[in-house]
Amino acid sequence: MKILMIGIKKETKMGREAILKSVKENKPELLPLPEIDTSAFQEDIDLVKTFKNNLVLVGGQIFEISTDGIDSKIMEHYPDKSSIVSTTTKSNLGNVIINKDTNPHTLEHIDLAIIEGELGVSENGAIWITASNSLVRALPFITNDLVIILEKRNICLHMLEAYDSISKRDRDFGVFISGPSKTADIEQCLVVGAHGAMSLTVLLV
């Protein structure tokens, strides 16, 4: 048994060394890594308006409201949801309590999840969500419908700016979500609601 283990270890090491050796032998002379001149991407546009347009384009709905109107807006749009998880203090509609140790399989029948987004990107309607926003990583995917609350002042122009803003984060898991899940794999017909959330509503506050 011991011999076998050593054998396996040796083999994986061979793969690594062989690959790196082959790369070294075959790579071209060093070419420079370009500096990114972000002024080439500068646009004088209304960030909130562009964000809203793009969010609709990718299949989401969006409302600009005040913080005290959050729950009534959610109830208006999702009137008959029974299992609701809220991971934000901005909504009191949650009736299923979860924490970071919750088994994700138990979220199978969650009808609605309400979470906060960290950052919006105006060029594509994407919203940055981290594991600390959703507590359980599976939540924004396994829920039937998803509500994301986003502060207007946290909308940036494009992805390069977005990566600047999140560069100092604690890296475990994070995702840009742009709209509800979708597929066009059957004859190119767009169908919203593949494996992830069937709908996405963004509340801008």
Binding site: E11, T12, M14, G15, A18, I19, L20, S22, V23, E25, N26, K27, P28, L30, L31, P32, L33, P34, I36, D37, A40, F41, N54, V58, H105, E108, E123, N124, G125, A131, R137, A138, F141, H158, M159, L160, Y163, R171, D172, F173, G174, V175, F176, I177, S178, P180, S181, T183, A184, D185, I186, E187, Q188, C189, V191, G193, A194, H195, G196, A197
Partner: protein, 455 residues
């Protein structure tokens, strides 16, 4: 079997070919619209190309940096020189977890390594969870496009497949009904899977994390529910810094489907508490391609499929006619490096119009590489006798102006007066399924001289 032979097969159903052609052109048009919306798009492509060129020139350093940063975050990193090692490593991880059920999200690399049949032979259930991939898996076919795997299937085909395998009701190919049923079917698979396997769109050297892009959310459904996540990547997937994702994510979805970004761009840097994450870094012929100066840039590819959507040959011949994991123009410059003999017809499956190079988000000179492979292939591989003799004659005629003039005259004469069977036969590929243009008495040379005289 040559590309042309397989393309003939695909072309038997004319209405299907026409649909295929138009559907992909529509995706190409969406790409254009989306790209034109971006301030500085051409500069963005330039950056994409230069970053990738830098990556290849420093690939070993970036891979080592990536490995050590990933390990700092508790990720297990494995290296595989070829498909067999790749499959064996994955199997050993599955054995460790006593895994019997695996869900997979789209990964062209695992297709390339034929992972599914390898695992299935060991009694492991492997379910492809991207809807298009699931469709072709049920049909026991390979994907015909890297972004739209089931683009060759009609909705009626899918209806019949789902009736057989998922027990759905006949729906005349109602896409909403079929997607809904697939959602239920695959939810069950996600909830019961032991291990999730994904591909990698980008691996970031300075953080040790990987990014996976999907529209359906299937990668995340798989990974966040399973005990362990195995991410498989080719060595060329590494990029230097996280901020470079800002360049590539802006390019990828716009080039692929015309979306401004995929629905989900998931950043995996660490396993969730109590779970495990593995990354398998694979060579499988890539370092060999790296050694070929003329073809090295093919490793820039970010697998968007834009070259397929725009290619007049791909659109009218279908992905299966290429008989390679990656079809279309990019596949035609990657495959001869793998097996020159087997794929010798692919670099000829092109009009060399250059449209592929024009849309490529990382500016791979695809059509120039196609031309270069042709030069190698005619030297090393035996060509069909009709092609060689015609080309030999053409070479002779074109090098002698007098002969060329005479040939032109007799060709014009023949096209006007010769009986049909002499013009439209096996020797004349241009006369297949179409009539040659009507012949005028004047040729270009005569017309030009007359025009000059008349001032």
């Amino acid at each position: 079997m040559s590309h042309a032979t397989k393309a003939t097969e695909f072309n038997k159903d004319e209405s299907k070919v026409n649909w295929h052609d138009k559907a992909l052109w529509y995706v190409r048009e969406k790409r254009d619209k989306s790209a034109h919306n971006v301030e500085g798009w051409e500069y963005l492509r330039q950056l994409g190309s230069e970053i990738k060129a830098n990556v290849l020139s420093n690939l070993d350093e970036y891979l080592v940096q990536f490995e050590s940063n990933a390990q700092k975050n508790g990720i297990h990193v494995h290296w595989a020189s070829n498909a067999k090692e790749h499959n064996t490593i994955i199997n050993s991880i599955l054995e460790k977890h006593k895994a019997k059920k695996v869900v997979k999200s789209k990964s062209m690399l695992t297709e390339e390594c034929h992972l599914n049949p390898f695992l299935e032979a060991k009694g492991i259930e492997v379910v492809d969870t991207d809807l298009g991939e699931r469709i072709v898996q049920l049909a026991e076919e390979p994907p015909s496009h890297i972004v739209l795997p089931a683009i060759h299937k009609t909705k009626e085909d899918v209806d019949v497949l789902f009736q057989k395998h998922l027990g759905t009701k006949p729906s005349k190919g109602n896409p909403e009904y079929l997607v809904g049923e697939a959602r239920k079917h695959l939810r069950d698979k996600f909830l019961n899977a032991d291990v999730a396997i994904t591909g990698v769109n980008f691996a970031v050297a300075d953080t040790g994390g990987v990014v996976v892009c999907t529209n359906e959310g299937n990668a995340d459904m798989g990974v966040h529910l399973a005990k362990a996540h195995i991410a498989c990547m080719g060595i060329e997937k590494v990029i230097p810094k996280e901020k470079h994702l800002g360049v590539f994510l802006r390019l990828l979805a716009r080039s692929a489907t015309g979306q401004p970004i995929t629905t989900y761009s998931s950043h995996f840097n660490k396993a969730e508490d109590g779970k495990e994450m593995h990354i398998v870094i694979v060579d499988n012929g890539r370092t060999e391609q790296l050694s070929r100066e003329d073809f090295r840039a093919s490793l820039h590819c970010i697998r968007c499929g834009a070259c397929m959507n725009t290619c007049p040959i791909y659109r009218r011949s279908g992905g299966h006619s290429y008989d390679y994991t990656i079809p279309g123009p990019i596949g035609s410059i990657l495959s001869p490096g793998k097996d020159l003999k087997k794929y010798s017809s692919l670099p000829f499956a092109s009009t060399l119009c250059g449209s592929c190079s024009n849309v490529c988000p990382v500016k791979i000179n695809i059509h120039e590489q196609l031309y270069k492979w042709r030069q190698i292939i005619v030297k090393e591989e035996k060509q069909p006798i009709v092609k060689t003799s015609i080309l030999k004659t053409a070479g002779l005629v074109l090098s002698k102006p007098k002969l060329y003039k005479m040939a032109g005259k007799s060709a014009r004469f023949a096209l006007k007066y010769a009986p049909r069977f002499m013009i439209y036969n096996k020797l004349n590929a241009w006369g297949k399924a179409r009539d040659l243009p009507e012949i005028k008495n004047e040729n270009f040379d005569d017309w030009y001289k007359k025009r000059n005289k008349n001032g």
